[in-house]
């Protein structure tokens, strides 16, 4: 084989290596949410500006069953918290939405999040566990209004 062919193949191989790398990086782009379409599937700011129809197309928030969180037992008894569309972190940590002054609660104890029309509670690996109607949580479960949720010595309930 001629020297020229071999040289061409040599550079071709280096090129192929970098083609592989750039293909992999572009395959990862969507995962890193820097592409045209964000991983969430929601239209980006720029898309909304260019195409105002997209903003209206976003689905209306579903009507929630529960609108209020009430502490019915424990040191914070009587506290209420309005429920919006964002998840709520329960625990002793300062970053928590509802900071529990309860020695039996973990820093980041449990998380309440809305899905569809319902609220779900999920234990975040707490030391003493989260109990939904006296049943220890092992996975995210829906919380119906009026069902007590126990975290350490605190009991909370959702109200419509």
């Amino acid at each position: 084989m001629s020297d020229l062919t071999i040289t061409a193949l040599r550079f071709g191989f280096l090129l192929l290596l970098w083609v592989l790398i750039f293909s992999i990086v572009s395959a990862m782009r969507r995962d890193l949410m820097v592409g045209r379409k964000a991983a969430s599937g929601a239209p980006t700011q720029r898309e909304v500006r260019k195409n105002p129809g997209l903003a209206e197309a976003a689905p209306q928030p579903v009507k929630q069953q529960a609108h209020q969180l009430v502490v019915i037992e424990g040191p914070l008894k009587g506290t209420t918290l309005p429920l919006a569309a964002s998840p709520i972190l329960l625990g002793r940590a300062q970053e928590a939405t509802l900071v529990l002054e309860d020695d039996y609660a973990s820093g980041r104890h449990a998380r309440l999040f809305p899905q569809g029309s319902r609220w779900f509670i999920e234990d975040l690996g707490s030391t003493n566990g989260t109990y939904l109607a006296d049943q220890q949580l092992t996975r995210a479960l829906p919380v119906e209004p009026g069902v007590p949720v126990r975290i350490g010595k605190t009991v909370i309930e959702l109200r419509p």
């Binding site: 191989f13 192929l16 990862m28 995962d31 929601a42 234990d123 030391t127 996975r139």
Partner: protein, 465 residues
């Protein structure tokens, strides 16, 4: 909430496309290394390329069946690295030498084992049950090379091999996986205790000895055995794994400070006490001194020849099959990075390093995405082990740090390392499958009862769905 979540996409077709590209790289490399010999396209070439392609496609098929949501770029990256390694080893084979075919055999075995891991271990959280069994297994694996009868004796100054029939095996390579499983399992259940209980001395908080006992034992066992086995590289690897996992679990910078201080102290003591460590450091600092260069054992000839080789390669490289990497001792194992640097040049070597970097980021992405503390720690630990190994080897070859006997993952000739790294890939793929897959928030079906607690303990999920 509902407007944010879309159905997760498996993206297996993306993987297939990238995999074909990766196979083109591997097979292209294999073609180029023999292109100006008369036997360029002999039956050997077709046989090897065909086997690699079939194995990679079978692996892809298994992912389609068993781990649909696994990360689509991990497999192509690893296949490309493994293919380049195979081609380079094949190219360095002296006539009649069988290292290349041996490496291909081990690649197939390793891929089969990784497929087995994905097929039979349906959920990585099952491994959490084996926390303490893993500790025992690590200790056993590390002690095996010292046991008379199965030990392969001292090879190249280290006692890390055992004899398995006609082959030799390095159990320490597998021990890094079992140790990572132990650290992940132990730290994920005892993190709160280590964080909260304990005495505060100045800015540093020391955990109670009771909570740290098993960790310290694990560390002592690995370091102790490695002093007896005289394997400096693995001891750095285990120590780094230990510090990183404890740092990731507790997010206390004090652990890193303590760890670096221990490394500095340990390194100083080791340099004073052990002659082989002393020789390594001397061969690194005074590599160009003629007496050091010619010394045997422990001379710097290997490093310097590697550096000359890479200098000869320059920016573009001499081209696969065109250089003389065979002048370097252990060109196909310890020094394979220097061989690749010579023949692919800086451009090609950067591509290889970047592939490792991408692999590492995908491992951490899986750790971020998965919801259980055990999976997070395991993915971090395993991908960090691969990254640290790359740093120690490539740093050693390029004379940034003293050269130690670790293998370059997926590239270097050596079955045990290949096997262990493919198992790591299998585990990372499974963790990324749970990380990227849909989250089950449907209520428990009635009558099924609650699952065993402790297996599925979600922690602070970074992912807010």
């Amino acid at each position: 909430m509902s407007q944010l979540s879309t159905m997760p996409k498996p993206r297996r077709n993306v993987e297939l496309a990238l995999l074909l590209l990766a196979l083109a790289v591997g097979i292209g490399a294999n073609m180029l290394v023999g292109i100006d010999r008369e036997n360029a396209f002999d039956s050997d070439f077709w046989f090897q390329s065909g086997l690699l392609a079939v194995a990679a496609l079978v692996f892809h098929g298994v992912l389609r069946l068993r781990a649909k949501y696994a990360d689509p770029v991990i497999l192509p990256l690893v296949v490309a690295l493994n293919g380049i390694g195979l081609a380079m080893i094949h190219r360095l084979d002296a006539p009649g030498d069988d290292t290349g075919n041996n490496q291909l055999r081990w690649t197939l075995i390793a891929m089969a084992v990784a497929i087995g891991v994905i097929w039979f271990l349906k959920d990585h959280r099952i491994l959490r049950r084996f926390t303490f069994i893993s500790l025992a297994a690590s200790a056993l694996l590390l002690i095996l090379p010292l046991v008379p009868g199965i030990t392969a004796g001292e090879i190249l100054g280290a006692r890390v091999w055992i004899r398995l029939g006609p082959m030799t095996f390095q159990p320490g390579e597998v021990a890094k996986i079992t140790l990572a499983i132990f650290f992940a399992g132990y730290l994920s259940s005892n993190r709160d205790l280590i964080l909260l209980a304990g005495r505060k001395v100045g800015p540093l908080q020391f955990p109670r000895f009771k909570d740290m006992g098993p960790m310290i034992t694990a560390w002592l066992v690995s370091i102790g055995v490695l002093i007896f086995q005289r394997d400096l590289g693995s001891s750095i690897l285990f120590f780094g794994l230990f510090i990183v996992m404890i740092y990731v679990a507790t997010s206390r910078i004090s652990w890193v400070v303590i760890g670096l201080a221990l490394i500095a102290g340990g390194g100083f003591v080791a340099a004073q006490v052990f002659s082989h460590v002393q020789l390594r450091i001397d061969g690194w600092l005074n590599a160009f001194t003629p007496e050091v260069y010619d010394r045997f054992p422990g001379g710097s000839r290997q490093i310097i020849q590697g550096l000359f080789g890479m200098a000869n390669g320059g920016l573009m490289g001499t081209g696969l099959g065109q250089g003389r990497p065979d002048l370097v001792p252990f060109a196909n194992s310890d020094m394979i990075i220097a061989s690749l640097g010579e023949e692919l040049g800086l451009i090609g070597l950067f591509a290889v390093v970047l592939m490792y970097l991408l692999l590492f980021t995908r491992g951490f992405r899986a750790a971020l995405g998965t919801r259980d503390a055990f999976g997070k720690l395991l993915a971090c630990g395993l991908s960090f082990a691969v990254a640290l190994q790359c740093f120690v080897v490539i740093g050693g070859v390029t004379r940034l740090i003293p050269l130690t006997g670790l293998t370059t993952p997926f590239l270097a000739a050596g079955g045990s390392s290949l096997l262990a790294n493919w198992i790591i890939v299998g585990l990372l793929l499974m963790i990324s499958h749970t990380a990227r897959g849909p989250v089950d928030t449907t209520p428990l079906p009635p009558g099924k009862g609650s699952e065993a607690p402790g297996i599925d303990t979600p922690t602070e999920a970074v992912k807010h769905l």
